[in-house]
Structures are given as C-alpha cells and as structure tokens.
Amino acid sequence: MADELSLLPEHDWPVLQPFWEAANRGELVFPRCKHCGTWHWYPTYMCRECEGELEWVSVAPHGTLYSWVVVRRALVAEYREKVPYIVALLEIDDAPGVRFVLNTTDMSCEKKLYIGAKMQIVFERLSDAINMPRCLLAEPI
C-alpha cells in the first residue's frame, strides 16, 4: 500500500489560493474571464477561449445536481474513517460551465437525490486554512 496522503488540500498552492482564501470567509468563488465572461473550472492561468485575464468572482452557494456516487467502502486507505459519504457533482447556478465536486456525509438525503435536484453549499472548517465546501439537499421532496 502506498504511503497515506493528507486529505487536506494545499491551501497555499497559488493556482487555488484565492479559492481557499474566499472559502475561509465563507464565500464561494470561481474564475471568470474579465474580457469574454467565460467561467473556467478547473482554474487556469488565462482564458482558454480568448486568452484574457481571469478574475475570481463570488457566486451564490447554490447548485444543481449533475451526478452523484454513494461510497460505502473505502477504496483507498485515506477514506477509512470517512465512509459512508456521497460525492456529488454540482453545476453552479451562477457560474454556467462550472461542474464542482464536493461531498456530504449526511446519508439521510440518499434516497431523495435525483439529477437536477437543487443543492446548497455550506462550509465545514477542517483547519485554520481550510474551510471545506460541503453540499446539502436544498429542497424538500
């Protein structure tokens, strides 16, 4: 078995630093081109459409469920203490084109999920530097 890795993201990797700084304030931000307005995810150094400069823009913490996976058994050692969880892909309502990966350990929503379901993004503090986005089902069925 390979050495276990930390499950904490690198808060100081420059490519993502603005994302984690905003998350620390409880804000969700994604990169958008200043010139043509295209949203980019994952973050790049420049706009892949027009080569323009990107800026991080705050969006409402709302998304639409694109797909999800229920993980009950840890496929790698790092998840041993984390299962069960649901990993979700959300399309961010205010940032068309952004498909965002996050998870929830609230298994009570499992039977209520469907593609197109409205989800809310909340934050969970994992360390001084990392305030991790999580998702919750936003609408009652």
């Binding site: 999800w68 229920v70 998840y79």
Partner: protein, 390 residues
C-alpha cells in the same frame, strides 16, 4: 498514406496474471524480444522506440542497455492508453516519412498488480495537482468513483444501462476463457454480474477492469520494407488502413467530469470518421472490433461515439450482447479485453486486432475477418486504428 503505408510486422506479449513473479524490466524484455523476433528482426535492427507516456516504468535507455538496441529515434507519445499506442503509430509514420529509420518498437507494461508503485493506477492519477487538491480531499477518487458518476448520469438520461453492461462483461469473460492466456479463469453469468458487489454505487466490481502484471510490444515498419523482409514463417503482414487520434476541446486532462457538454463525452467522433475514410470503409465492413475497456460503461459510450449507434442508443444496440459475441455482427474484445483478460493500457487490443488479421487468434478467431477496428479511449483523448489483411 498509400506511399508509406504502415504495417504491423511483429507482436509480443507476456502472460496476463495477478503476480508474474517478474520485475517490470523482465516483463518488458519478454514482450519486446518476442515482438522483434516475431518480426524476423534482431534488437539491433530497431531504428526507433516510441512509447506512450506513463505506460511503463522502464525507460527506453534502460531497455537498450539490457538488449543491445541502439535506436537513433526515441520519443514519448503524449497520449495514454490505446489512444497513446495509436498516437505512437502515427509518430512512427511521421518518422518513417522523415527518413528516421525503418523499424519502430512500441511497448507498454509493468507488474502493476504485484509491485509497481510508479505505474499503479492510483499514482497515475495522483500526479495531477488539480486532482490532488480538488477531487482527492472530496472523496472523488480513485477511478471507479468517476465511472460510477458516468453510470449514474447515463442511466438517468437514457435508461437502465446495467443489462447492456452485464452483456459486455459476460461476453468478454467468455472470450477470455477461450483465449487461454487470461487472468480470469472462471465463467461469468448475467446473474453473477448482478450479484457483483457495488464498489462505488452504482458501479459494480465487475464493471471495472483488472489490474494486471503484463507487458506487450509491437514493431511497425512501412509495408514496402516489410514485404522485402524474409518471412520464414510465411506469416501475413498486417497493413494499417487508417489511423487517427483526437482530443476533446477544451482538453480536460485527468478531469473526468469536466468534459463538455457531458462528462462521458469522448473524442471518438473527431477521429473515427477520419480513420474510416482513410481506410475507405463503412461500419458494416468491420469484421471484428477491439475497444479500450477500463470500465464497462466506457465500452458502451465508445460504441455510441464511434458511430455504431447514436448516443443513448447503446442499450438497445447491445441488447442481450449477441451482436458483440464471436458469432455476432460486431464481435467485440474477442480476447476478453481488460475486463476479463488483463489490463495492459490497451496494448492488448492492438495485438488482438493484429492476430485476428493474421488468422492467429486461435479459438477466438473470427473466420475470414478482413477488417479490424480498434477504438482507443484515453480519458479526454481517443484513437482509432483500422487494420486489414495483406
């Protein structure tokens, strides 16, 4: 293309097992020397080594040190999986045209199941810092989780795809048992498929390919050169009728959920028509097809994106799987593929297509097969190769 038509003149491979008891180097030596002997050549006759990136932990110069090869042309093909093998063949064609030599060796392999860390599927994906930071901490790791998300989305949009996936798995297991050199040794039924545990719901264990100790290699030359070589075994040459590769736009390296418009879109539609028009064939002309199968759901999507049917029509096209059987209209993964024979980064598909064209596929042989189709998924990349008979 006709002037310097490429031909596959030698193939070699090892056993497919979960514990070879060999080092990665030893596996590679077996596969490469077998391929070169099969071509009727000596190691020193190899003019070029072109290998897809990250598909072996043995560097070309290490192999040269072991074998006495001294290739003047060495390159990495910047694509992976079967797409990488096909891209390496495209590069061989370019090198041939540029006069860089006559014979090109392409290889992959490692003892992935028993030892290799650097070439393990997990490490392959953990190289990527985006995945390390934006997927791994969220539990979107390793590969079965991505393809579970494909399966969920596909079934929600187009209907329950499990009957089609079961048919793919059962067929390939049947072929693997006929093959005689397969990691899997027991038959598989549709009921077994449905009893298979959910690894990452809705993905089952049997939806996943194996992890295998194996190596495979091929030698390509121009058809003209190959015809002039002595062929003591009288073995037929296998001409490349068409080949092309492409990538999704924008490229989406390792980000299996960022492909547009759907996460499960492949680049097949951008290269398959090109390779088929080079070869001058239609789908109905294809006698046998080999497709990269890291997961059963990728095979379903490839069948659609390669134009055998439309998107969302794969479930009906596959039906109970008889269309894909050895007796069917489009026999698929006739050697058992990576789901049941063993994982080889998709090299095995090119080798099996070559055997089918030579008439050497033994109990898996499609009688009278004249045209073989290889579909090479490689995440955001795709490659298509059409082989014929001399």
């Amino acid at each position: 293309m006709k002037k310097e038509q490429l031909a596959i003149i030698g193939i070699g491979e090892t056993t497919y097992s979960s514990n070879s008891g060999l080092t990665g180097e030893a596996l590679l030596l077996q596969a490469t020397t077998r391929a070169v002997r099969d071509a009727g050549l000596r190691m020193k006759d190899i003019d070029g080594i072109i290998i897809p990136r990250e598909m072996s932990d043995v560097r070309p110069y290490e192999l040269e040190f072991q074998t006495g090869m001294n290739a003047k042309f060495k390159a990495y093909a910047m694509m992976e999986s079967t797409a990488g093998v096909i891209h390496a063949m495209e590069m061989a064609q370019a090198a041939l045209a540029a006069g860089m030599g006559k014979h090109y060796l392409i290889y992959s392999g490692a003892n992935q199941a028993s030892a290799s860390q650097s070439a393990s599927p997990r490490n392959f994906h953990m190289h990527d810092r985006y995945k390390r930071n934006l997927e791994f901490p969220m539990g979107f790791h390793p590969q079965p989780v991505y393809f579970a998300a494909w399966k969920r989305r596909y079934s929600a949009l187009y209907g329950d795809c499990e009957p089609a996936l079961a048919a793919i798995c059962v067929n390939q297991r049947r072929h693997a048992l006929l093959n005689g050199n397969s990691q899997m040794k027991k038959p598989l039924s549709v009921e077994d498929y449905y009893r298979s545990p959910l690894l990452a719901e809705p993905l089952r264990l049997l939806d996943c390919c194996l992890i295998t100790d194996s190596a495979a290699a091929l030698v390509v030359s121009s058809m003209e050169t190959a015809k002039a070589l002595p062929r003591p075994t009288g073995r037929p040459l296998v001409p490349v009728l068409g080949l092309a590769t492409a990538a999704t736009d924008p490229v989406s390296p390792y980000c299996f959920h960022q492909t547009r418009p759907e996460m499960f879109d492949t680049a097949a539609g951008k290269c398959v028509p090109l390779a088929m028009s080079m070869a001058g064939i239609q789908h109905d002309d294809i006698d046998v097809m080999e497709m990269y199968d890291c997961f059963s759901i990728t095979v379903l999507r490839e069948i659609e994106d390669c134009g055998f049917c439309g998107i969302g029509e794969g479930i009906d096209f596959i039906g109970d799987g008889s269309v894909l059987s050895l007796e069917g209209k489009f026999p698929l993964n006739t050697h058992g593929g990576q789901l049941s024979r063993g994982y080889s980064w998709g090299m095995c598909h090119v080798l099996e297509a070559t055997k089918q064209m030579r008439g050497e596929a033994a109990r898996c042989q499609i009688p009278g097969a004249k045209t073989a189709f290889v579909g090479g998924y490689g995440a955001w990349q795709y490659g298509c190769l059409i082989l014929g008979r001399d």
